[in-house]
């Protein structure tokens, strides 16, 4: 297993210092919306050691004369020393005319709200869908519930701060080494905004110190590249952790209003309205669609309506992730429906899984068996039957247990890619996208490739450096490990086929009689042709053997997970203590359980940090905050990869907050806002009858 991450040998973006480096600092707008009236750079320019000063008029492609959020980039300086650069950026005298701003996404579509993008309304994207007869269902309902759920903007907080380094090579190509999760996307955006051919940009792909979507877009690279292009010198720009928490892509603020029609002791129809804060950036309809399809996919509802709007605000652009708001709202609301009907929330969900129905979001195969298994395994682990009978003791503390389902299909997610190349000595380079190169996973994937090709384990080596870049992982986010494994397997199968084809030619035997093993092609009567000979032959003929595979996330089965929480609420202070968490994942038992479990644990803890500490400046939890957490891999189908047969990531984020809110509500108030702060809990407790 690769030891580089535990010996300090792993190289991240910032672990490299080109000679003659310039340090870049950015003057950022202190107002949410403003126009730059004038820029006086004389003081900054006059400082010794300042090499370059650029204002918004000099570089409209990367700086803004019309800043659209607090922290938007207005000017930049480059200097010989980081402290000097920061000092010079502060010395820029910039006069602003403050403009009215739209800060709250709920206000963005009101008539007269200040618009964010010129010549457009604040409606960034809109999606409507309807199935069945929603009006009719509500007209015939015995009871209608309505509630509004809100999620605050939540920073993602990966440990490695965003950083970019740029320089020119001997052919004056632009080299970019940054902490991005999505080098391909960054290269495309750089080419576009700097007006240089993408082929003149080389992305280095060092290790990435966590991302979660916060490093999924151009953030610093363009500013840094501008300095390199204008000065010819290497440049470096980073954000501090505090700046990154404020400015890097975060989970968006969302508001979801849910109406439900109840009849005959059951749920008849749902009507959802989502408003999502797209900040000062474009938003896609795809994202809205996947937000709702994921949240409702598990349930079969005959009548259903969704209206989603992404709206512009004077806020930094959010991360390209979906589903948090709708999932929180739906999973919270189902518990409210259960309470209104006097049903056990677990029973209600199980009954909804079983209903056969039409309707777009529910029409795909729901694989009830997986969902049932996941729910019952998780319920057993948390002690649902025992604890559901609530706990009203004499003291001020109340315990409750809650659950929420998470479901994920591949819609809109990132692809996974892999390539294998045969070397002249018979060794194989495995090229992976940046996010599949996590500790452990890389080693496992190399071993997998070796098994499929029939090579020796030690002959498959992960490729690093520029070559990786040929394999783009498309839009942002982290592909599922299982998908990466499928991509590696597919690439390896293709390489094996190609090897056998060449081997058949060289050996003069039909391909059907050949197999591979221990680094050689094997034929009848112990004839063998080492891969090295094939490699040399291919090199001589000028056609090295390369096999690639790139898989859609939709190639994986939808993932299902149940998250369960036991909490203790202090009814006098609103303090909540998480006693225990259980995550039950329907991905099949992965052979590499420890690797997968570490990732799921991490995601659950991040989700917990957001759910509880989202109002804090830095919502990342420490080891003393982490509650006892149990992860179950529920056997479903035969696992097809070492990491299980489907997604294990991006599930807790959708459901954990709802599981907590549902647990609180069992013996206390219904809290419909995330984060679930002591303040919100206590005001909910006050309002209880």
């Amino acid at each position: 297993m690769s030891t580089k991450r535990v010996t300090g040998q792993g190289r991240f973006a910032d672990d490299f210092r080109p000679a003659g480096l310039l340090h870049v600092a950015v003057t950022r707008c202190p107002h949410p919306h403003a126009r730059v009236l004038s820029v006086d750079a004389s003081a900054a320019r006059g400082l010794p050691g300042v090499v370059l000063v650029v204002g918004p008029e000099d570089a409209p492609e990367v700086l803004r004369a019309h800043p659209r959020y607090v922290g938007d980039r207005v000017a930049l300086v480059a200097a010989e020393d980081p402290e000097l650069a920061a000092h010079a950026a502060d010395a820029m005298r910039i006069a602003y005319a403050e403009q009215p701003a739209t800060l709250a996404h709920e206000e963005a579509l009101r008539p007269g709200a200040p618009t964010v993008l010129e010549g457009a309304t604040n409606l960034a994207a809109e999606v409507r869908s309807e199935a069945g007869d929603v009006e009719g269902a509500f007209a015939s309902a015995e009871r209608v519930l309505q509630a509004t759920y809100r999620l605050a903007r939540l920073p993602l907080g990966p440990l490695e701060p965003p950083v970019a380094l740029t320089w020119l090579d001997e052919d004056r190509r632009l080299l970019v080494r940054s902490s991005t999760e999505t080098p391909h996307r960054v290269r495309g955006r750089l080419a576009e905004c700097l007006h240089i051919p993408a082929a003149r940009i080389r992305m280095e792909t060092p290790l990435v110190g966590g991302g979660f979507g916060a490093k999924s877009d151009l953030l610093l690279e363009d500013l840094c590249a501008l300095v390199t292009l204008r000065t010819g010198r290497p440049a470096r720009l980073s954000l501090s952790r505090d700046q990154a928490l404020a400015l890097a892509p975060a989970l968006p603020a969302e508001t979801v209003t849910v109406r439900s029609a109840l009849r005959e002791g059951g749920l008849l129809a749902l009507d959802l309205a989502l408003v999502l804060d797209a900040g000062a950036a474009e938003a896609s309809e795809e994202r809205l669609r996947s937000a709702v399809s994921s949240a409702l996919a598990p349930y079969r509802l005959a009548h259903f309506r969704f209206h989603g709007c992404a709206v512009h605000t004077h806020r930094p652009p959010p991360a390209p992730v979906t589903g948090g708001g709708v999932a929180f709202a739906v999973e919270s609301h189902l518990d409210e429906v259960a309470a209104a009907l006097g049903l056990d929330p677990l029973e209600l969900r199980l009954s909804l899984l079983g209903h056969a129905g039409e309707g777009e979001p529910g029409k795909e195969a729901t694989r009830e068996d997986v969902l049932h298994t996941v729910l019952s395994a998780g319920a057993r682990a948390i002690g649902w039957s025992r604890r559901w009978k609530a706990s009203a003791g004499p003291g001020p503390k109340r315990r409750g247990v809650g659950l929420a389902l998470a479901r994920r299909d591949g819609a809109g997610g990132p692809r996974a890619t892999a390539a294998l190349q045969l070397g002249e000595d018979g060794s194989l380079s495995l090229v992976l996208g940046p996010t599949a190169r996590d500790a452990g996973a890389e080693t496992v994937l190399c071993r997998l490739a070796a098994q499929v090709v029939g090579a020796r384990d030690e002959d498959v080596v992960p490729a690093t450096g520029e070559a990786e870049f040929a394999l783009a992982e498309a839009e942002g986010g982290t592909p599922a490990l299982a998908l990466s494994a499928c991509a590696v397997e597919e690439a390896a199968r293709r390489l094996r086929a190609a090897l056998i084809e060449v081997g058949a030619r060289l050996l003069g035997l039909p391909a059907s009689e050949l197999s591979t093993g221990s680094g050689a092609i094997r034929g009848p009567r112990s004839r063998a042709l080492p891969f090295a000979e094939v490699g040399r032959e291919c090199l001589r003929s000028g056609a090295p053997l390369v096999a690639r595979a790139s898989l859609e996330p939709a190639d994986l089965p939808p993932a299902s997970a149940g998250f369960f929480a036991e909490v203790e609420t202090d009814t006098e202070t609103g303090q909540m203590r998480v006693v225990r968490l259980v995550g039950a994942l329907g991905c099949g038992p992965p052979a590499e359980a420890a690797l997968v479990e570490a990732r799921v644990q991490g995601e659950m803890l991040r989700a917990l940090g957001h759910a509880l500490g989202g109002s804090l400046p830095d919502p990342v939890l420490t080891a003393i905050d982490a509650p006892e957490t149990q992860i179950l891999f529920v056997p479903t189908d035969v696992p097809v990869t070492p990491f299980g047969n489907t997604f294990t990531g991006d599930l807790a984020r959708r459901a954990l907050a709802a599981a907590l809110a549902n647990a609180v509500a069992q013996a206390g108030p219904r809290v419909r806002d995330v984060p679930l702060t002591p303040v919100a809990l206590l005001s909910g407790i006050e309002a209880l009858p």
Binding site: V208, A598, G609, A623, A626
Partner: protein
């Protein structure tokens, strides 16, 4: 995010010299957790660490704490528990989840620069601490009630806190807090002490955070308990006074109304616990303590602006040119020790952790010149690919650090733990790792890896 504009560094060994330099306007540097993490301009730094002001001792039943005693030293001292009825260690632990920050932050620094919600400040108020303030002309004593209200008043013109005296242990004490998560600063914290003479409470002290001011006592509330038996009625009268008198703060986290509302149960619970402890004369629990590491006496280093320093790095001598402002983090990375990761620049993420004389500390809050003559270890010195340290092997086996960015800090924190406690409990392992954030893997795997490494070592 180091303070800017540092031009000179002075490290005297004699208090007189320090006082003279302070009188010239040099900025005293204690632990550095605030001074070095703030973006202000600090041209001249006066390092107090060579004055011999650290350490705890009992003198005539009083607990005397040097101003440079760190919060971690309080937690590691067997005398601090009985002498404060457990309150001061509890406050030090609550104040910061991070052993790295607790290892730097000092009682003096916390008293002078502690923020509005300093639980250590509240505890020192409740413990009746007395500040011994040295000046060129005289040494004065200032009670916490006065000193903590506005430390600058006592320090203007070059005063330095020399020590704190906690006179006599209270019979009972308690700390109560509410925070969104355990590691976060409290929305409200209450520190209480009670002392009994016979049946009646002879002294009660109630200090709160979450106020418009720094932590403060509520004198009117205290008198409601004094000269009573600490009965329920007295305690309720006391709480009424707290609600009436305390200037609760409204901010982004919570309103004054919320704080006032939770003050009632928190004060009541703290009082109940303290009185019960006093009545039943329960022994104070002292956790298992790490054996003390040897303290190296620091030499004097006057007027350092730039020059050559020497240290032992991973067992080998390192000589390097540094400026007064150079952080240890930057020095090590300039020498290609890239295993030292840059994270937050404020000491709260732990990515840049190194061991200095065996103690884990965040190298972003350490001036390189402060490590002159000391022994520094980075992850590069922990183990090699072919000969991994047991914690490295355990981290690999557990998949404990998927992205690897947090690994160096976690590994060195774990090594420091295992060097002093070879058989840690899970709670001890969590405490040791709490200074390092690990957003990718959460904390279950790293904690499990530390425990596995300990077992493997047996």
């Amino acid at each position: 995010m180091l303070a800017r504009g540092i031009r000179s560094y002075h490290r005297p060994t004699r208090l007189e010299d320090a006082l003279a330099l302070a009188a010239q306007g040099m900025r005293p540097l204690a632990g550095g957790t605030r001074l070095l993490a703030s973006p202000g301009e600090v041209p001249n730094i006066l390092d107090l660490s060579a004055l011999g002001l650290a350490g705890l001792r009992i003198e005539d039943e009083d607990l005397v704490l040097g101003a440079m005693t760190t919060l971690q030293e309080v937690l590691d001292s067997p005398v601090a528990y009985p002498a404060t009825a457990g309150l001061l260690p509890a406050a030090c632990r609550a104040q910061s989840p991070s052993r790295l920050l607790r290892g730097l932050a000092t009682l003096g620094g916390e008293s002078v620069h502690g923020d509005l919600d300093s639980e250590v400040g509240a505890a020192l108020l409740a413990l009746n601490a007395v500040y011994v303030v040295a000046r060129a002309e005289e040494t004065r004593e200032s009670p916490a009630l006065r000193f903590l209200k506005s430390p600058t008043e006592d320090l203007t013109g070059g005063g330095l806190v020399r020590s704190l005296i906690i006179p006599g242990a209270p019979d009972g004490a308690a700390l109560e807090r509410v925070a969104p998560i355990a590691s976060a600063p409290p929305l409200l914290a209450v520190a209480v002490t009670v002392t009994f003479a016979g049946e009646n409470c002879s002294r009660a002290r109630i200090a709160l955070t979450g106020l418009e001011t720094r932590p403060a006592r509520v004198l009117e509330a205290e008198t409601q308990v004094e000269r009573t038996a600490g009965d329920d009625k007295a305690l309720r009268r006391c709480v009424d006074q707290v609600l009436l008198r305390a200037p609760f703060r409204s901010d982004e986290q919570a309103s004054a109304d919320y704080r006032r509302q939770i003050a009632r149960p928190l004060v009541l619970r703290a009082l109940h616990r303290a009185v019960e402890r006093a009545h039943r004369q329960l022994p104070i629990e002292v956790p298992r303590l790490r054996p003390p590491l040897s303290q190296r006496a620091l030499s004097s280093l006057p007027y350092f602006t730039s020059g050559r320093i020497e240290m032992t790095l991973n067992g080998r001598p390192l000589r390097a040119e540094v400026e007064a402002r150079t952080r240890l983090l930057d020095l090590l990375r300039e020498h290609d020790f890239f295993g030292v990761k840059a994270g937050c620049g404020t000491g709260r993420c732990g990515a840049c952790t190194v061991l200095v004389d065996g103690r884990p500390l965040p190298s972003c809050l350490q001036l390189a010149v402060r490590t002159q003559g000391r022994s520094v270890q980075t992850v590069e010195g922990l183990g090699q690919p072919e000969a991994l340290h047991p914690v490295q092997a355990a981290f690999l086996a557990q998949g404990a650090s998927p992205c690897g960015y947090c690994a160096p800090g976690l590994l060195l924190s774990a090594k420091a733990l295992l060097d002093s406690i070879p058989d840690p409990t899970e709670a001890e392992a969590r405490d040791a790792l709490a200074g390092c954030l690990c957003p990718c893997a959460g904390h279950a795997q790293p904690v499990a890896a530390v425990l596995a490494a300990a077992r493997a070592h047996e």
